[in-house]
């Protein structure tokens, strides 16, 4: 029956009511609410229905609340009622202040809680594993280049050796990613369903003894025992089988060597929780590739695995870490000797082959190592920046609140005087003031929660998250935080007026002698300066973040990256790709067609090389295999030598280097030309590569990084170990004359698609554009930029609200002074100037403090980028002028009103 429930009423409202309304009423009341909600949705639309739902809920809350303060009548409740009444009258009397006060605090709290929500989500990954506190990942140095860098990848035998030598591990399990395998499910007599699977991992059969993923069908004990069995998530199962029972069905998997193998589904899991650093669609047992796993030669240097250990309860991790250091020197030497013809010490060049134990909960959010291949990694920098901004904004709004509360309490000195004359004790006055300010904070908090509820969908799209307010609010820590915030801010903001006013002598206050006190004015001014310092700094920083992002995306990468269409999955075609290439070359829409194994900005393969000089150092050089046309397509500029020329028989064994590689190999300094020099693989392979050309440096990875050494190998070079394997691409440079609009483009893409399916229709058709790939390397920064702009705007709004309030207050306080000045002959514009200059001075001070601060932080942030947008002075000037004029506009209304008042009105009392 519940499936016929069409609309979801706001959960927050429901929850609130559940907390406050007696259980006996719940059923009928919610029934009624739901019924009306449905009616209203169908007659007046969703937003009206939502609004009315909230209204009705609140109304019911007041009537049925089990708190009961609205019903019983005894001395206490009468007092509380009286306090409410006084608070309400004051709120109404100074309507403007009330609104400003509530608005500022609500915005601040909402922003801060929103950020809190995000930060909490980020730092609470991987907490669903039952044995999570005992799971550690075993990391080791990056043995392929930088031994100082920690890497999450190890060879497969690390786990086996640890199992053999170290009894402290209860389980050791390994994961290996099998990216990009094509799989298909042939329904009998019906269509074939085929996907390229990226989130497909090979795991050891004890995977589920370590990690807790929830089984829907099948059992964790047996699901991974059989070779070529397969465990998948519900979502994946639905993709292949719809609503049929997946257990026992078989999926054909095309292995990397091109052969098809049937895998049988043995288990179905719940979808992997969002907050897991391991994200998979399907798992297959590692013994499905027995032959590969059993060859022992390179098991210490095949760093495609991650190793996880479950330690015994009560293990001393420090002692264990010490103990496992003995493992690599004992087990790795046979591998280094066989593969590299080097002893263990020669291979490590004296660097320790350390094994690190990293606790599971720290993996997602750690910068050490910054990358792993099984799922998302956190960005501590972004979280840190957001966290700081959140706290700053909260600080801003709290300052505002206190400032305004204090300021406006000065107007109540007469009230206090009268109360005292009528016999009110000091204690009850203090309670009244603190009660009022706590009440304000409570109301703001409720507003803030509503505001978050409204903003959350938007915030989720930008941060790419799935945040839910309710689960966040249920955390005891958060409840504690919100409650203590309410009490703390309420009491702090209320305490100054409470203590100061309640101890004043009634005769003086009634005579009107009590001024707001010059002491507090200094503090208030200081707080305004602090607010504007923060918001001006934020504005400047936000500008430079934007600037850096657009600067990077427009940066010259060394070739024209626009108009390059890239077709993926070309490796599936095998050597028929030449046929396809010839066909595409004849298409007038393209000026160039080229083949490559890897495309910028994602060229990740590489190896260790040295020159034929026996003294030479080993250098890690990235490599990419392409044909001669791809180099022409990119339009790389040769500064020495030439492109591959297949008419020369040996050219396919030649290589082309970039400038950086030449520099790193140390050739440039000794003699002019590196052409004709020889390069060797450092692992002792006798084959050498002759340098036939050098190209100018170009970005083959994200422009966040400096250009690293690169060598281009011809794709027909059959002496390299990975000849013919790996993923490859066909790239086409579009002819801007032939393809001028999106319809043309669509047509061209269709043509390519049909050309491919003519060859083999089972190949998944995927394409991308190079400029977009480059841009996507900045997606995190872009998202962060948008969110940061929003926060900056919030900070500015809060600061202006505060300034507006203070200006209004000041106008009221100085009304007589201004009146007297006017009587004595001051012109209105002089008064405006006098009034405005008091505040603009404060802003000027803020600008002076904010500029160096903003410069410092911008500089710090830019350090991570290889190519930095320049920090320009004019930005500071514009920010300063902007802040000043905003401040002047904010107080303009108050100052004009104050200056144009008729002195007769303002001076008539007394």
């Amino acid at each position: 029956m519940s499936s016929s429930k069409k609309h979801q009423a706001p959960r927050l409202a429901k929850w609130l009511a559940h907390k406050l309304i007696k259980e006996t009423y719940i059923e009928e009341l919610f029934g009624d609410l739901q019924e009306m909600f449905e009616d209203r949705i169908s007659t007046k639309g969703k937003s009206y229905a939502l609004l009315m739902y909230w209204l009705d809920t609140f109304h019911l809350l007041i009537g049925f609340s089990s708190i009961g303060i609205f019903k019983t009548q005894n001395n206490n409740t009468i007092m509380i009622k009286n306090m409410f009444k006084i608070a309400w009258r004051n709120a109404i009397r100074q309507r403007q202040f009330t609104v400003l006060n509530l608005l500022g605090l609500s915005i601040g709290m909402a922003t801060c809680l929103l950020i809190g929500l995000y930060v909490y989500d980020e730092i609470s990954y991987d907490q669903f594993h039952a044995k999570g506190d005992r799971i550690y990942r075993i990391n080791q140095p990056d043995i392929w280049g930088n031994w100082d860098k920690e890497s999450a990848s190890t060879g497969p035998n690390v786990a086996l050796a640890l199992k053999e030598d170290i009894p402290d591990f209860e389980e050791l399990t390994r994961i290996r990613s099998l990216r990009g395998l094509v799989m298909k499910y042939e329904e009998e007599g019906r269509r074939t369903i085929s996907f390229e699977e990226d989130l497909n991992f090979a795991v050891d059969e004890n995977f589920f003894d370590v990690f807790s993923f929830n089984f829907i069908q099948g059992s964790p004990e047996t699901a991974l025992i059989e070779p070529k069995s397969m465990v998948m998530t519900v979502e994946t199962a639905e993709r292949y089988f719809g609503y049929e029972d997946p257990i026992g069905k078989s999926i054909d998997v095309k292995h990397y060597d091109g052969t098809w193998h049937p895998y049988m589904v043995s288990g179905v899991l719940d979808n992997v929780p969002d907050r897991s650093h391991i994200q998979f669609d399907m798992l297959v047992p590692m013994n499905s590739h027995r032959k590969q796993m059993e060859s022992d030669d390179w098991k210490w240097i095949w760093t495609a695995f991650s190793t996880y250990g479950l330690v015994q309860e009560g293990t001393d991790i420090e002692a264990l870490t010490k103990k496992i250091q003995a493992v690599p020197p004992k087990w790795a030497p046979p591998t280094t000797e066989r593969i590299f013809n080097q002893t263990f010490d020669e291979f490590t060049a004296g660097n320790p082959w350390t094994l690190f134990l990293q606790p599971l909960e720290g993996i997602y959010f750690s910068e050490r190592p910054p990358f792993h291949r099984f799922g998302p990694t956190g960005n501590p920098q972004v979280v840190g920046i957001f966290g700081v901004i959140g706290i700053l904004i909260l600080l801003l709004s709290v300052i505002n609140f206190m400032n305004l509360s204090t300021a406006r309490s000065a107007n109540r000195s007469k009230e206090v005087g009268i109360r005292k004359v009528l016999g009110s004790g000091k204690k009850s006055l203090v309670i009244q003031f603190i009660f009022e300010s706590v009440l304000y904070v409570v109301i703001s908090t409720i507003f803030a929660l509503g505001l978050i509820e409204l903003l959350l969908p938007w915030f989720n799209t930008f941060t790419n998250k799935n945040l839910v307010l309710l689960t966040f609010l249920m955390q005891p820590a958060i409840i504690l935080f919100v409650l203590s915030f309410i009490v703390l801010v309420g009491v702090l903001a209320g305490s100054y007026p409470a203590l100061y006013l309640s101890s004043a002598k009634p005769i003086e206050t009634l005579k009107g002698k009590l001024s707001s006190g010059f002491k507090s004015k200094g503090i208030r001014n200081g707080l305004v300066v602090l607010q504007f310092t923060i918001s001006i700094s934020l504005i400047i920083c936000a500008y430079f973040v934007q600037k850096q992002i657009s600067y990077s995306s427009k940066l010259d990468v060394g070739y024209v990256k626009d108009n390059i269409l890239q077709i993926h999955n070309i490796e599936q075609i095998g050597f028929d790709s030449e046929v396809l290439k010839t066909k595409l070359e004849s298409n007038p829409a393209f000026t160039h067609v080229g083949k490559s194994f890897g495309v910028p900005p994602n060229i990740w393969s590489g190896d260790r090389y040295k020159t034929d000089d026996p003294e030479s150092e080993v250098v890690y050089i990235s490599n990419v295999r392409t044909d001669e046309d791809y180099i022409n397509l990119l339009g790389l500029e040769f500064i020495a030598g030439r492109n591959f020329d297949l008419h020369r028989s040996n050219d396919k064994y030649g290589i082309i280097l970039n400038e950086e590689a030449v520099k790193m190999l140390g050739w440039k300094s000794k003699d002019k030309s590196p052409i004709g020099k020889k390069l060797l693989i450092a692992s002792g392979d006798e084959d050498d590569f002759e340098v036939i050309g050098v190209v100018k440096d170009f970005n083959f990875r994200s422009v966040k990084r400096k250009i690293e050494p690169l060598m281009i190998i011809h794709h027909l070079n059959d002496r390299v170990w990975d000849y013919g394997s790996g993923i490859s691409f066909l790239s086409m440079r579009l002819n801007p004359e032939g393809v001028s609009n999106s319809e043309d483009l669509q047509r061209v893409i269709e043509e390519v698609k049909s050309a491919i399916s003519d060859i083999d229709s089972s190949i998944p058709f995927e394409y991308s554009f190079m400029d977009q790939d480059f841009e996507s390397t900045f997606r995190t920064e872009q998202r962060m930029g948008v969110v940061m702009n929003f926060f900056t705007a919030m900070a500015m709004v809060i600061a202006c609200l505060g300034l507006f309030g203070l200006a209004a207050f000041s106008a009221e306080q100085r009304i007589k002074e201004l009146g007297i000045r006017k009587v004595l002959g001051a012109k209105a514009y002089q008064l405006v100037f006098l009034f405005t200059s008091e505040f603009t001075k404060l802003i000027a001070v803020s600008v002076l403090i904010a500029s160096p601060l903003a410069y410092y932080f911008t500089d710090l942030w830019l350090e991570d980028f290889a190519y930095k947008a320049p920090i320009e002075i004019w930005v500071f000037v514009v920010a300063a002028i902007g802040a000043l004029s905003l401040a002047i506009v904010t107080i303009a209304y108050q100052s004009l009103r104050a200056a144009h008042r008729n002195p007769v009105d303002t001076l008539k009392d007394e």
């Binding site: 016929s4 009928e28 919610f30 029934g31 609410l33 739901q34 019924e35 449905e38 019911l60 049925f64």
Partner: protein, 109 residues
Amino acid sequence: MKNKGLGEFEELVLLAVCILGDGAYGVSVKSEVERHSGRSVLLGAVHITLYRLQDKGFLKSEMGGNSAKRGDRRKRLFKITETGMQQLQTSQDVRQKMWQLIPQLNAGS
């Protein structure tokens, strides 16, 4: 605190319950009152009044009748009691008497 009289809104609600017979519960009473009086009424007000009338002994209630539209929740069905009927009658009589005491007015003058 126990005031046995009928407020104006209470009277409207009580009448609505009478009109609705077996189908009187929160939402239906609310819409009945709205239909006849032409003003819009909040659900909470109706519920509070229904309960107050029950406390005064003018109404009795029982749970029953769920529907999918209500998210499978039951409703509380209200019925008028003997005393409730009497009370309505009394207030009707009071008004009637008072109306009769108003001096005849000339509509034209």
